[in-house]
């Protein structure tokens, strides 16, 4: 079920009323929340509701076992390794089976070893029939963080399987994040408010409407008119148009993904739950490290806590730090999709971060970390431009279907004598809007949320309906799925 659809509007109206009607009766409320979340997920393909159910049972079961095992026992580590293997095995089967199979056979052929053609065809045929469950990467990471946190003693397991199942399947964040940690959401699920709490409607309405605007108007427009045509046939465009297409994709993916996070946070707020923010004006970043503090924050902090730090972080000297940073982003790239383009995208970011760290240490050898931050307006401006351009280059790999497509786009960017067809005032204006909506991120608009909350509720409702209608009127016919659904 997609957020900007009539089906979701009907679903949410029913769920909202029943949720608040049942909230003071904990048992029925939990059951209802689970059923409604599974319905939301199963609306796309009901069979995969069993997958997420099985995932909940396995992860919660192992978390309880780990918690009950004495800290000094090696069995704890074995249990953790086993559940991580199971979780990652399921993810690997659904997401990477085809990619791994093809890579193995291509490698065999490249080194001159005989390739068993019958088995290759059978395996590739099987891979072609595997349907990727929506949001599997997100709920796998949530499950992993839960069992690892229990293993580290940072949280205790959910009181019941039902509590954990609701946490994992809670519909606003189920299919495309944010990756909400168990320590943030599980306590809210275990003890829902015993009375009807006042709601932060100003912020919720603001997030939902700005999310819909970003997705329906800006992201869809940029995709349909600029990014998709340029990436589909880059050879048909000259350098200027190719660059504009890449900028458009950078802003499209930001508007698309941050829209999903905004709507998820807003919907959760209306149900009385608080999620962490996931985006904070990423293209205002003045360094790549700053970019990853602002882009998909729930993923970057996940990678930091469950991959970078266990690899050793920055504890084992400079060389190992560069290696850990690089590996973290390489795997982060692979998390996004099964393809070499994603691996290169991750490697690009990992390598850049390592170089940035190395140069920063050379320049500010004897100064505190704060000295590395740019201070003058001119310096900040140029560093923002530089980081944005670099991120755009990395998006070329991320968006291209194959390496050849990415290279074709790079070649187009060298043809400065080609015709310029896309630099129209309308396209440039929408690009500017895509950039400016970053001012809505974080808590920059808090004063506006609070002011909106103070106007009469009937007026709030009517105003939201009118704004929604304007958004729908400005958007194209139909709703394209969110980009991150495929991950």
């Amino acid at each position: 079920m997609l957020f900007p659809t009539t089906a979701f509007a009907v679903f949410f109206a029913i769920v909202f009323l029943l949720h608040w009607a049942l909230i003071t009766r904990t048992g029925p409320w939990k059951l209802f929340t689970l059923i409604s979340s599974y319905f939301f997920y199963g609306f796309w393909n009901w069979k995969f509701a069993f997958l997420i159910g099985g995932f909940s049972i396995i992860n919660h079961g192992f978390a309880v076992l780990i918690h009950r095992t004495p800290v000094e026992s090696p069995r704890r580590r074995h249990l953790l390794a086993l559940v991580c293997f199971l979780d990652l095995g399921v993810l690997a089967f659904f997401k990477y089976f085809g990619f791994l199979t093809l890579t193995v056979f291509q490698t065999l052929a490249a080194v001159g070893l005989p390739v068993p053609e019958g088995s290759m065809m059978t395996l590739l045929e099987l891979a072609g029939r595997i349907v990727l469950p929506v949001g599997i990467s997100f709920f796998t990471f949530q499950g992993l963080s839960y069992v690892i946190d229990v293993y580290r003693g940072e949280i205790r397991p959910g009181k019941t399987l039902l509590d954990f199942s609701i946490y994992l399947a809670f519909f606003p964040q189920l299919v495309a994040g944010p990756i909400v940690r168990a320590c943030d959401l599980l306590p809210q699920m275990e003890t829902p408010p015993r009375r009807l709490l006042p709601l932060d409607t100003g912020r919720a309405a603001f997030l939902i409407l700005t999310g819909l605007f970003k997705k329906i108007v800006v992201a869809n427009f940029l995709a349909g008119n600029l990014a998709d045509p340029v990436f589909a046939s880059p050879e048909a465009y000259g350098a200027q148009d190719a660059i504009l297409g890449v900028w458009a994709y950078a802003l499209q993916i930001y508007c698309d993904f941050s829209a999903y996070s905004d709507i998820a946070i807003g919907v959760s707020l209306l149900m009385g739950f608080h999620f962490p923010i996931n985006f904070n004006a990423p293209y205002f970043a003045t360094s790549m490290q700053d970019f990853w503090h602002r882009w998909h924050i729930s993923l970057s902090t996940w990678l930091r806590d469950y991959l970078y730090i266990p690899l050793g972080g920055s504890r084992n000297g400079e060389l190992m730090t560069y290696r850990n940073q690089f590996l973290t982003f390489l795997l982060g790239g692979l998390w996004h999709g099964a393809g070499w383009t994603f691996v290169i995208w991750g490697a690009f970011h990992g390598a850049y971060l390592s170089i940035e760290r190395f140069l920063g240490r050379l320049r500010h050898r004897n100064q505190p970390a704060a000295a590395a931050e740019p201070t003058g307006a001119f310096s900040i401006f140029w560093r923002r431009i530089w980081v944005f351009q670099f991120v755009c280059v990395s998006w070329i790999f991320f968006r291209s279907q194959t390496l050849d497509d990415a290279l074709a786009l790079f070649r187009s960017m060298g043809h400065w004598s080609g015709p310029v067809t896309l630099w129209t005032p309308t396209f440039l204006a929408v690009l500017a809007i895509g950039w400016l909506v970053q001012f809505l991120d974080g808590t920059r608009m808090e004063a506006a949320w609070n002011r909106f909350s103070r106007i009469p509720v009937a007026l709030q409702g009517a105003a939201c309906a009118v704004v929604l209608l304007i958004i729908l009127g400005l958007g194209p016919q139909g709703v394209a799925p969110f980009i991150y659904f495929q991950f």
Binding site: A9, L199, G202, I297, G461
Partner: protein, 92 residues
Amino acid sequence: MVRWRDEIGERRSKAGRGIPLTRVCVGLAVFYLVAILLDGDALYRNAEQMPFGPARTVSLRLSQPLKWISRTTGLFRFREWIEQRWNKDKQP
């Protein structure tokens, strides 16, 4: 820069300043009512474009009265005006 974990706690503590649930329900009812009045016609058009099957039949049946209300009150013209004025892709 907003630190994400701090931000949860901060907003939680401010949640007490929010709107009581009963009034939120009123606001939500008004939202749905106005949205139906303004958009009933487009909802019917969307249902018409669905692939043939039970979902389309149900959607058409449900959106038929909404279309009637929107047309009778003339409020559908607001969205029509936006589409004609600003959205060239949707013009007939």
